[in-house]
Symmetry: C2
Subunit: 469 residues, 2 copies
Amino acid sequence: MKSGLSFLGILFLAASTSYASDPAYTPEDLATAKQLREQALAGSPAWDIVESLTTEVGPRMAGTAGDAAAVVWAEAKLQELGFDKVWKEPVTFKSWSRGHERAEVVSPYPQPLAITALGLSVGTGGKPLEAEIVAFKSLEDLEAAPAGIARGKIVFISKRMTRHRDGAGYGPVVGARSKGAVEAARKGALGLLIRSVGTDSNRTPHTGMMRYEDGVKRIPAAALSNPDADLLENMLKRQKPVRVRMDLGGREEAEYTSYNVIGEITGAELPDEYVLIGGHLDSWDLGTGAIDDGAGIAITTAAAAMIGQLPERPKRSIRVVMFANEEQGLVGGKAYAEAHKDELDRMHTGAESDFGAGRIWKFSSRVREEALPLVSQMVEVLAPLGIRYGDNKAANGPDLIPVRKLGVSIFALHQDGTDYFDYHHTPNDTLDKIDPEDLNQNVAAYAVFAWLAAQAPIDFGQDLAQEQE
Amino acid sequence: MKSGLSFLGILFLAASTSYASDPAYTPEDLATAKQLREQALAGSPAWDIVESLTTEVGPRMAGTAGDAAAVVWAEAKLQELGFDKVWKEPVTFKSWSRGHERAEVVSPYPQPLAITALGLSVGTGGKPLEAEIVAFKSLEDLEAAPAGIARGKIVFISKRMTRHRDGAGYGPVVGARSKGAVEAARKGALGLLIRSVGTDSNRTPHTGMMRYEDGVKRIPAAALSNPDADLLENMLKRQKPVRVRMDLGGREEAEYTSYNVIGEITGAELPDEYVLIGGHLDSWDLGTGAIDDGAGIAITTAAAAMIGQLPERPKRSIRVVMFANEEQGLVGGKAYAEAHKDELDRMHTGAESDFGAGRIWKFSSRVREEALPLVSQMVEVLAPLGIRYGDNKAANGPDLIPVRKLGVSIFALHQDGTDYFDYHHTPNDTLDKIDPEDLNQNVAAYAVFAWLAAQAPIDFGQDLAQEQE
């Protein structure tokens, strides 16, 4: 199923001319898609799935008891929902524990600060770290600053995230979280504090993964909530040295084996070919992982389960993959690609739900040109859900990056993320942040997508990566 | 200045007929009031005051180092703003410390719970308390339940606060906080958990004062955040025993002397008579006390300071009182009434700002009937601020309850509290929750009120309590 094709300016798919020779869905397949859509809007198992996961398991950071409980929960839930096959595939990684975390301004205005350690950060060595703050407006400002500017100090990066439907505010600030500790250490710093990567104004700082580099000192790194970052900025405006004490207990723990948990609705005609949908089963430890990514698990599991309730099995298989340890480095996604790398031609296409529980408003593809008429037909069925076509450059779904880089076709069902970064990676990631109707709109879209993708009369293409990146 | 009069149905003040014999403000006094209003809207010192208090002092729970720092801050700030006299009056009480606080579900679904101890609660005795949950929909349901129903258990009261502009949702739920531990102990409970008295959905539980009763066992009491209360409810729906472990370190500490800090703009004609405006200087420990009650301190201090900047002193004095320890039992308000009880005829009237920083939308009085034409004139000056008249039964301002009960005239400038209970008594009570323009609208209203009250050609009445309650 190889097809090295070019994608020349196919921007307005809906307007493209159709020809008698174009591939097309049967009226029956389209009717079933519409039926799935309406059925999901009227009610789907998704809410019960995410309620169950957040209530009965809750926080499930990779390598913790919650991770193990989530794997048990996932296998049982997929069985209960009538999947034809349920199995798990090992995913091994070094785990990390958070330990305690505290910070306070020591002088000139003693006050506690609400912080949380960035994921994978080292601790402060069993005792508090106290130092003067040196502030930078952005990671770029820190990078551009003279060598030694932070010697013996704690670097504070204050750049604020902006709110956008598509999460466009994330990119400009997340570097401070992922690379800030390395840059600060290069400038001589003893520790790093960043303004949370988040759009809220709650005292619930946002965690998230950071990285060290070989040869650069590993310094402890934490995020301040937005109000605490404001407070520190207001103190610094007074032009007196501000000293902060931070005490972090984070550390690397032993190697741990978790699992990608997989449920399959087995196809009737081409059972070895499959459409992959899914989300990630792990969460950060601070919340109950409702929007990140209980929602994605629930949406995709519910969509596949509804297809599994149809009188006939789809043409191709539908595989729900609940990826392990996305949060600490796409570990489950990489493990999946590695385990299946010699048979990726069996993966017809895929889509991951990992951007909360907001309504889907845009649909993007990454297929060969010959398949675009099929995408156009999908878009027609999705349109009543308030979804429009984006382009043929779909790149979303973190756990699908590894297979996409190997050339597999993917789709992206873009969710409204306006509020997503209010809660992302905080204690506030809880069930009440999910609107059941929005959740069902997501299920409707995934059911339509997964069903029609499974019924496609031609393949969607492989080796697409080169043209796309 | 005694006047025992009845108040018969004066509901529509603005429509009341005016007579030549009615007391009236001079055109000059009204012009000055309008000038103060416009000046405050254009910019007042209030934002800088609350920014200074929250940044340089921050949390200032009664009896803590923050309390002491706030008293020093307050005296300096009043001096700096040009008040004619600044002094402090002692307020003594037993202080309380929070210590540690943690809770978790032990079984059947182990998860951490976000809790905070209710103010004045005892701890769990140096070790965690673990017991099964017995749930009640409200304090009333607990009261009505059979004796012994909670024996050996932790009572959970799940009633949810509703959102209203005037805070009407507070009354129906705050009893669970203040009296829940006594009622639970009477039914044999070992501890109390309540759903937070709050309208938000953040993992930031709301503290607030609770009470014990002599002869009833003192059991530890804490609030769950709304999402945590939801979680506990969802677990309980599964009809399995839910066991919770809570570990609280709260305890009564030594006697402490704080201060009501007072600043006076001294009147030109009747310097011994005064209009009291103010707020409370203490806060809970969790946030920086921006809306509760840094805003009230800032609004009233700014209003008085602006009057102090006029070319002439007002007729009567204007006294800003920053009350000590409101949160743990109106201690400063009671101390003020006690210290001044033999000279309360000098207190012309008063108003306290203690409901956040939302815009003022209603103005209520508690004056003798003869003074109502003056109130009507005040309302005319306030109307362009979007403020309408309420009634002559003003009762707001917790620290003024003790003087009101002794018959002193008061006013109420009702703020929009729609969002107030999202942040009230939580870590989220921080500066970013205040809108500078709304704050200035408050200053405008307080400046108009304080100025015109000070200029009143007749007294507003005393011994009003009996008729009103």
